[in-house]
């Protein structure tokens, strides 16, 4: 289902029972930045900033287009940012400013990733 159902209110992500294409698919390992997203999500939860429920709710509210056009960890980092902003850990302005600064460091993830340890 590609949208929330306007007649019933059924949410787009609540997809059990729908028709769809073949289930098996290729597998891939994750890039370092993706593993870091995962780590940051786990750490923030462990520190009590938000719960997995908040992460899921943010993912659901991003809507079906995000599911179709963004990768799994792209959606996770967006949902992470959403939860951190909601809980007052960072502000929109702070995040925006830092992202601009990061962008100015260079063209690749390797250039911009900052001090890893």
């Amino acid at each position: 289902m590609r949208t929330d159902d306007p007649e019933t209110g059924r949410r787009w992500h609540d997809m059990g029972g729908d028709a769809a294409g073949p289930a098996p698919g290729p597998d891939h390992d994750f890039a370092l930045w993706e593993k870091r997203v995962d780590a940051l999500v786990q750490i923030a939860q462990a520190k009590g900033v938000f719960t997995v429920d908040g992460l899921r709710r943010a993912l659901e509210d991003m809507g079906p287009d995000a599911f179709e056009t963004m990768t799994y960890y792209e959606r996770w980092v967006a949902a992470l940012a959403q939860n951190l902003i909601e809980h007052g850990v960072v502000t929109v302005a702070e995040l925006d400013a830092r992202m601009a600064q990061v962008a100015a460091r260079g063209e690749t993830y390797g250039d911009a990733q900052g001090a890893a340890e």
Binding site: G9, G17, G54
Partner: protein, 117 residues
């Protein structure tokens, strides 16, 4: 009305979270509430709404994910059950094999007991 009800042999199982005073017991016949299709973060899938199954086991009391998703504490905790449904109940004539079953975890407020008709 005849419903397709699955067999349940409640397994020996130690709930990983404390159980308060559950209203339902393994083997009980229950119906999943239809719900209004309203907004929010809900963990009762659409395809199970209104379905009748049997309690397979008690999982324990857990905070309410519908509240946790918005940064609230989800208290009071509610009893979570695994409920077993016959595929015939869920999909009718389109079930691949009517006696196949589906188990899902459903919170107590989403269940009502069904008395023998």
């Amino acid at each position: 009305m005849t419903r397709a009800l699955p067999q349940v042999t409640p397994p020996p199982f130690a709930p990983p979270c404390p159980v308060g005073t559950p209203c339902l017991a393994p083997g009980d016949v229950v119906r999943v509430l239809p719900g209004g299709g309203g907004p929010g973060h809900v963990r009762t899938p659409w395809y199970l709404r209104g379905a009748v199954g049997r309690i397979e086991r008690i999982c324990g009391d857990f905070p309410n994910p519908e509240e946790l998703a918005y940064g609230r504490d989800g208290r009071p905790a509610r009893t979570l059950y695994r409920v077993r449904f016959a595929m015939a109940e869920l999909w009718g004539a389109r079930a691949e094999r009517p006696e196949d079953t589906l188990d899902a975890e459903i919170f107590e407020p989403w269940l009502e007991p069904v008395h023998a008709s």
